[in-house]
């Protein structure tokens, strides 16, 4: 394999100062976790902490890095330049993937000794289950990254847009799907197949492996051959919709309920990805589109971009309501909060010219974290956007859906007002 991206990664990302800082940081965080876990269950607790941290690093830093890097390379025309070289498509994708995620993988690896340190401690999971969990983590990470790259390739062909938080959304999807599988590593359950009972973890890890293979082949195909070809706007929604076929593999495993729940939870991740691509054009073009739409009193130019994610949410909400009414609350919850977040982001994009992403993180972060710090600490009804089902339906409704809906309405009103003001006050571009 010829992977020139790795040489570049060594020059840009894996510099000695960064390695030293990352190594020291990971060791210090692991030490803090070990200190917090002193007690009877310290082995289980510490392993759980370390695995969670590794998952966070890989899925919420590694995957977004891969997707963002890919899009940046596409905009720089580097992919076309690489396609003129003797590199195979697989080498291009693998090289980029390894390069852009190398620092995240290094941080996760630097945490690993603490999981091994926990093995002799009370109620530790044992080496084999730990290795199995790491394998599932790696599979999920590869699947989410490859899907993100393939989806970004489709989106780049559609509108050459910027990715925004799409990589983060894909990381969320991988985190949830891989997390479900990892949990099964310490389970003794089996899946009754025609060939006989198969350990549940093996079955679900194989399903995850299928997703990985499917997404990797899609990434290689898109990057290697079709990247520059024009594409229907619906190719990306279609591509991502097939992703959920992976969840269908959960049904024979007797995990229909979990499959539905996972579907409900992962939909916002994918929808956010779609929405990010839909809004992916540069801020100036986006503003111009909005101004023209406001002037013409027609939202049609914006419909195709917005319709795909929202139709997906609406379809899912309807399907869930019809088939699994007890989970409809989750679908409603994620749709409401997604709407609020998109309107808040939209308002910020109209109002600010710089650092929109930073402002978005601060505002949305506050909207999520403040209730956790206030409501959750003073009551037992759970915080806003608590995805797990509430113990009390009424409390869950009052704590989540109603305030969320009000916030979404307020954000939509603010967005609409700002767009109308923009249409009146600013001179339209020719």
């Amino acid at each position: 394999m010829n992977l020139p991206d790795l040489r570049r990664a060594r020059q840009v990302w894996l510099t000695p100062p960064r390695l030293v800082v990352g190594g020291v940081l990971a060791t210090a965080v692991g030490a803090c976790a070990a200190l917090l876990c002193v007690g009877n269950d310290s082995g289980q607790l510490l392993t759980g902490w370390i695995l969670t941290l590794q998952n966070m690093v890989l899925f919420f830093y590694g995957v977004p890095s891969a997707v963002n890097d890919f899009v940046e390379e596409h905009q720089n025309n580097t992919w076309d330049m690489l396609r003129l070289t003797p590199l195979t498509a697989a080498e291009m994708v693998l090289g980029r993937l390894l390069a852009s995620t190398s620092y995240a993988v290094f941080l996760a690896a630097a945490l690993a000794p603490w999981a091994l340190f926990a093995l002799p401690l009370p109620r530790a999971p044992g080496l084999l289950p730990l290795l199995a969990q790491w394998a599932a983590m790696g599979l999920g990470f590869a699947a989410a990254s490859a899907t993100g790259i393939a989806a970004a390739a489709l989106a780049a062909r559609i509108q050459a847009g910027r990715v925004g938080n799409a990589g983060l959304a894909m990381g969320g999807l991988g985190f949830i799907a891989s997390g479900y599988t990892q949990v099964l590593a310490v389970s003794t359950g089996t899946v009754p197949l025609v060939v006989g009972p198969v350990p549940a973890f093996l079955y679900f890890a194989a399903a995850l492996g299928l997703w990985t293979a499917w997404s990797a082949s899609a990434a290689v195909r898109l990057v290697g051959r079709l990247l520059s070809e024009p594409q229907s706007r619906w190719a990306l929604p279609g591509f991502l919709a097939t992703l959920w076929a992976y969840l269908a593999l959960w049904v024979p495993g007797g995990r229909t309920a979990e499959a539905w729940e996972c579907l409900c939870i992962t939909v916002p991740a994918v929808v956010t990805l779609l929405a990010s691509f839909a809004e992916g054009e540069g801020p100036e073009e986006w503003r111009t589109g909005l101004r023209l739409a406001a002037k013409k009193r027609s939202w049609r130019p914006l419909v195709p971009g917005w319709a795909a994610p929202w139709l997906t949410v609406a379809g899912l909400a309807g399907l869930t309501l019809a088939l699994r009414p007890e989970l409809a609350r989750i679908a409603a919850l994620v749709a409401i909060f997604l709407a609020r977040d998109l309107f808040v982001l939209g308002t910020l994009r109209v109002a600010l010219r710089k650092n929109v992403e930073v402002a978005g993180m601060v505002v949305l972060g506050s909207l999520y974290i403040l209730p956790v710090l206030t409501l959750a600490s003073t009551s037992n009804i759970g915080a806003l956007y608590w995805l797990v089902p509430m113990q009390s339906e009424t409390a869950g409704f009052l704590a989540n859906i109603l305030p969320g809906a009000l916030q979404a309405l307020a954000a939509a009103g603010l967005f609409g007002w700002r767009v109308r003001t923009l249409g009146r006050s600013e001179k339209l571009l020719p």
Partner: protein
């Protein structure tokens, strides 16, 4: 473009395209293009915006798949062996972005790696090219701190890293000041002198005329005209403004020409007559014989000298008309 065969010699063609088509939705970006690029030639690819120049370049070097048609590069079918064909090209696209934090030396090292050039040879080649494009003074500065002209020259060095026989340059002079454009011209002449085949798309025709040997005029995805540049500039007499200088018998000549089919825009200018002539070379020769037979003492008879830009404008006006 099929260059004319001169003195029985067969042109050595390195790139051949036949009936090349590429559609984007309902729009034919490239519509039945036949093209031959002669080995060692420097061909100007010109046409209005949206004529299909970039698409044609990308089709020829295999970055786009053609809907129909065939491309042969040095005898190799691009559809059958795309990777082999692609590696015969060096390409400077219109967007030539680099990672801003990388240095020119690192950029070239990276692409040398991609072309599987052993590290020591790659480093030597990178140094050689950095000197060639006069970037040796900034070889270790981040690309983000280089001027547009320097980045363009780095793009050219990148295109040459694997010593390809064919180099495509898409709008290489766009956005550059005259000094930088002159430097680029000198570079292109050096690359051409090294025996490479160049295809250059540009709107700056005066500069193309300085170093191009052939030209292809593209409009709406079709080749409108293609030939050696000198012949295109000289043009068929049909499209030319002629000048006749007579020592005696100018009135006779004027009367004869005014009656002659194919002559238009006749005007006297001192001892000269200027007119547009729409006829073949043979008919023009017959006209000269007729003038002489009528007793006109011809001192000079020929097409007015024109530039590539004049020729392009004339062609463009004819196409539009």
């Amino acid at each position: 473009m099929t260059p004319p065969v001169r003195n029985g010699s067969v042109p050595d063609v390195i790139v051949t395209a036949r009936d090349l088509r590429k559609e984007y939705g309902d729009v034919a970006a490239v519509d039945g293009v036949d093209l031959d690029l002669e080995r060692g030639s420097v061909t100007a690819l010109v046409g209005p915006n949206g004529a299909g120049k970039s698409t044609l370049m990308r089709l020829l070097c295999g970055l786009l798949d053609a809907d129909e048609g065939r491309v042969l590069v040095d005898g190799v079918d691009a559809a059958a062996e795309p990777r082999k064909v692609r590696s015969l090209y060096g390409f400077l696209p219109d967007v030539y972005g680099f990672r801003e934090e990388m240095t020119p030396r690192e950029v070239l090292g990276y692409f040398a790696d991609a072309y599987r050039i052993p590290a020591h040879l790659g480093d030597a080649r990178a140094s050689e090219l950095l000197t060639f494009v006069r970037l040796d003074g900034v070889a270790d500065k981040p690309v983000g701190r280089l001027s547009r002209g320097m980045r363009q020259r780095l793009g050219i060095a990148r295109a040459l890293i694997h010593d390809p026989p064919i180099v495509f340059l898409d709008e290489p002079a766009a956005g550059l000041d005259p000094d930088n454009r002159r430097e680029l011209q000198a570079l292109f002449k050096s690359i051409s002198a090294a025996g490479k085949t160049l295809l250059v798309s540009s709107h700056i025709l005066t500069e193309l005329e300085e170093y191009c040997t052939h030209a292809v005029l593209l409009r709406a995805g079709r080749v409108g005209a293609a030939d050696r540049l000198a012949r295109l500039v000289a043009g068929p007499l049909a499209a030319q403004t002629m000048r006749l200088r007579a020592v005696r018998g100018l009135e006779k000549a004027e009367a004869l020409l005014s009656r002659r089919p194919g002559v238009s825009g006749l005007e006297a200018s001192g001892p000269d007559l200027r007119f547009r002539l729409a006829c073949t070379d043979e008919e023009a020769a017959a006209l000269l014989a007729e003038l002489l037979a009528a007793g006109v003492q011809v001192a000079a008879f020929g097409a007015e000298t024109r530039s590539f830009e004049d020729a392009y404008r004339s062609w463009s006006a004819e196409e539009a008309g």
